[in-house]
Structure formats: structure tokens, C-alpha cells
């Protein structure tokens, strides 16, 4: 994932990291995303990195750096719903300490039942939002009746 270049600072440190699907990789310190609080159910884990699944598809792995076998498939919700708006933009910017809406990256977590990729769902109720400038993020909880935690992505 693109991250904000750190101008006028020395090259970021490179750390080895084990991943669930990509073996050992090297992660630059400026690629590390900190989720505070962590994802519900996994609140004790905070450090993550985004890895492309394949260059030609929009799926990313949100790989945990604190627990190598913990990884989530995520996608930019604009690929699913062009007008997705989880809550008040001003409040989200305030909560994330963002100065501009462009600083914020939204991702929704996908659930794929084993062996049934056609039944993939997206959790529109619990998007992850990341301030790209600070690389701090959190899982929002959107209580809107039209955003399901099991939004079907493909026709049944």
C-alpha cells in the first residue's frame, strides 16, 4: 500500500515479519498500521500491514504483525457501493485526527465461507478506517439499517 513519504527523515527501518499467506516478508516501519483499539475479538493485537493479494484485483490482506496467523481480506468499499458513507465524515476526521478527508482510507472486511467464495459477504457495519498520514486506524461501528454486517457481494 502507498504510504505517506516521510520527508527529511532517514530511511525507515525494515523489520522482518511472518505472514499467514506470504511466508516471511520485510515490512518498513512506515508501512505499519496501528489499530487502537484493535479489531473487536482481537483487541490485544494492534500492528498490521496491508498486502496486495494480486496486482489485478482489489483485494488486500490486512495482516497482523503481532500474530502471524491472523489476517483479514479487505477491500475498498467503493468497489462495492459507490456512495458508502459510514457515519459523519467530520466526526470520523476528528476521531482519527485527520486534517483532510483524503487522509482517510476506508476498508471493509470480507468473510468468505470456506469453499464457497460465491457466498462472500462484506461487513459494512464494521469498516476499518485508517489515517494514512499517522497510520493510526480503528474499526468503526455503523448502526445504520441499510449497512449489514453480512452484505452479500456476489449474486446468489
Amino acid at each position: 500500500m502507498a504510504s505517506t513519504p516521510q520527508t527529511a527523515s532517514p530511511s525507515p527501518a525494515v523489520l522482518p515479519a511472518k505472514t499467514r499467506n506470504f511466508g516471511s516478508i520485510e515490512v518498513r516501519s512506515d508501512q505499519i498500521i496501528s489499530l487502537e483499539p484493535g479489531l473487536l475479538g482481537f483487541t490485544q493485537y494492534h500492528r498490521y500491514v496491508l498486502i496486495e493479494h494480486h496486482q489485478e484485483a482489489p483485494f488486500l490482506w490486512l495482516q497482523c504483525l503481532d500474530k502471524s496467523d491472523l489476517a483479514f481480506v479487505v477491500i475498498d468499499p467503493r468497489y462495492l457501493l459507490s456512495d458508502y458513507q459510514p457515519g459523519s465524515p467530520a466526526q470520523i476526521m476528528l476521531d482519527l485526527g485527520a486534517e483532510s478527508p483524503e487522509d482517510l482510507k476506508f476498508l471493509v472486511i470480507l468473510t468468505i465461507p470456506p469453499g464457497k467464495p460465491q457466498d462472500m459477504t462484506a461487513n459494512l457495519m464494521g469498516p476499518v478506517v485508517i489515517n494514512l498520514r499517522t497510520r493510526q486506524g480503528r474499526q468503526l461501528v455503523v448502526e445504520a439499517p441499510h449497512y449489514s454486517h453480512k452484505h452479500r457481494v456476489l449474486p446468489g
Binding site: 494480486h54 483485494f59 468468505i112 470456506p114 467464495p117 461487513n123
Partner: protein, 76 residues
């Protein structure tokens, strides 16, 4: 479980920075006021459990199924 009895208008602290106030008691409903740092998750139980359960299921997504989905995506 710690059990405390409180009246309307009274409150309690959890640690130094989480404060819960009983705002109103009306029949079977109680209105609570909660002051907590933004890093603390405060949710109704049923909402919390729904998101938590979905995260747990999502963590079981297999690489092979994502590869299949990615292939479908590229074909479209």
C-alpha cells in the same frame, strides 16, 4: 460479577477515566451516561457481539478462496 446498587443521578467509575452515570430510570428502561476515552469501545452488547462474531468468522477466510474470487474479479 461485581454487583452495585445505584439511584438515579448517581454514578460509578471504572478506573480513572471511565465514568458511568445513571441518568434516568423509567419502568424497565434505564438511561446511562458513559464518559470514556475514545480508545475504549463502548457498544450495546448485541452490536458488540455481532461485530466480534463477524471478525472471528472473517479471520477464517482462506487464501485459496480469495485467489478464486480474485480470478472471478479479473474475468469480469
Amino acid at each position: 460479577m461485581l454487583i452495585l446498587t445505584r439511584k438515579s443521578g448517581e454514578g460509578l467509575f471504572i478506573g480513572d477515566d471511565i465514568r458511568i452515570t445513571i441518568l434516568e430510570i423509567r419502568g424497565k428502561q434505564i438511561r446511562l451516561g458513559i464518559e470514556a476515552p475514545t480508545t475504549v469501545v463502548v457498544l450495546r452488547e448485541e452490536i458488540y457481539r455481532r461485530i466480534q462474531e463477524e471478525n472471528l468468522q472473517a479471520a477464517g477466510t482462506r487464501d485459496i478462496d480469495v485467489t478464486e474470487i480474485a480470478q472471478l474479479w479479473r474475468q469480469e
